[in-house]
Subunit: 265 residues, 2 copies
């Protein structure tokens, strides 16, 4: 297969550059053609915890691989160290691929890394990836918008700057309980009970639909659908582990009708 190569993304020979690449939600087949083309040219890759082996398989064997971590409560490299590393590698004249799960500009801290590159005068490009909300909802059969149920969708994370654990006080509960919208909560497993309690306290119906998806788009995907009242307990007995995505909204009810993806057993 020939992958088209737009002029504007050609690599300047002998000049270092950082490619901030979104690796998508898990399934390696959800990589974009552009991500695959750029990964094939990498001298070195700096990758996060959420990037799978199946994705890394698209790198050339000779490419140096640096694990940057970002697992919950275990930041192998601090953000400042990652920023400095990217600048150093590019200044050595290398083609640097900075590989992130999902999309670099949605909860990926991509903007912060680019600001440091810009300050240092390092050339960069950005490759969008399928964000978890999009990939996971598609594989779980839960449309994020639907003219009958949700006109808007809101993406939220409980993890703020330097916050390791879920802090519910940081969430804008009034925004999360607006009508006719779907709310997607990234990295919310540890705060699930608190999230459900707060949503009800701020006006949501106790039987409002909510779904949780573990390992979305992969062979180990698990989906559980329930209500704000019963889901937290059922998640505990079902043994869900991070990373999980939480979807709150009437569209969750479409899962039983529209689920099509059957993970390998």
């Amino acid at each position: 297969m020939t992958i088209p190569s737009p002029d504007n993304t050609s690599v300047s020979v002998g000049q270092g550059r950082v490619y901030l690449v979104g690796a998508g939600p898990g399934d390696p087949e959800l990589l974009t053609l552009r991500a695959v083309r750029i990964m094939a040219k990498a001298d070195v890759v700096v990758y996060d915890h959420l990037v799978s082996d199946g994705v890394l398989a698209f790198l050339p064997p000779k490419a140096e691989r640096i694990y940057a971590g970002k697992r919950r409560n275990e930041h192998t490299l601090r953000q400042e160290q990652i920023n400095a590393l990217l600048v150093k590698l590019a200044q050595q004249g290398k083609q640097v691929v900075r590989l992130k799960g999902g999309d670099p500009f949605i909860f990926g801290r991509g903007g912060e890394e680019l600001q440091e590159l810009a300050k240092a005068g390092v050339a960069f490009e950005v490759v969008p990836g399928i964000t978890a909300a999009s990939g996971v909802s598609n594989y779980a059969g839960i449309p994020l918008t639907h003219r009958d149920y949700a006109q808007t969708c809101l993406f939220v994370t409980g993890h703020l700057k330097e916050t390791k654990d879920f802090v519910s006080a940081d969430l804008d509960w009034l925004a999360l309980t607006r009508p006719r919208q779907t709310v997607v909560i990234y990295m919310g497993l540890s705060g699930l009970s608190d999230i459900c309690r707060q949503l009800i306290a701020h006006g949501a119906q106790p039987d409002f639909p909510i779904a949780i998806v573990q390992d979305g788009t992969t062979a180990t995907q698990k989906v559980l659908v329930g209500t704000l009242t019963d889901l937290p307990e059922r998640v505990k007995t079902s043994g869900f582990t991070s990373p999980c995505l939480i979807i709150v909204g009437e569209v969750v009810n479409l899962h039983r009708e529209l689920a099509w993806y059957v993970p390998a057993s």
Copy 2:
């Protein structure tokens, strides 16, 4: 290049199936590997206005092409006709690719089409695509979230069921003016003046940052950054045309620092 093929998406020979495929925001290189693999097997494709020729080039020459329209104010096929067509083609035993701009589950009416397929007992799969908010923000150098400015992002469209023109009364202005979020408005060009006026009326600062992007991720991409007060007039004199994406939030200020994509002149 070898594209991995998960077992669960193998085509059942002699049995019709509909693949609801997200074509991404414009740049054909933002197609996923899975989209390209499935398009290569298509007997027939039913595609929308926003799907570019560069994307259609990945179809086999023998594949029948049916244009479903959906240009603003010009629905070549009504949604009900599209639904019925997909069912009919699948029942003829064909491998049907239903190709949509962006992501099928974010303002794509994908859920509605799948509901009709499910009712008719037609097998289907869904392939997520890069949604416009993600692709366009990446190519415009505007991160949708940033720990210093926006903890959440909200995707909105002004177009509701059977509504051809922008109707501001349908938008939840209180949700759109929450703090520390980025708002992305799909298909909002015709309502831009009204949007800016309403945001200010509901508490946004008159000099709050807003950007508009036409033809995002393509060779004709145009970006204009301004304020809620001055952007509507400047857009008129700059000759912007649909499709456009509007981004409202403090992250817009990062565009001048982080813009890297230079469209062909």
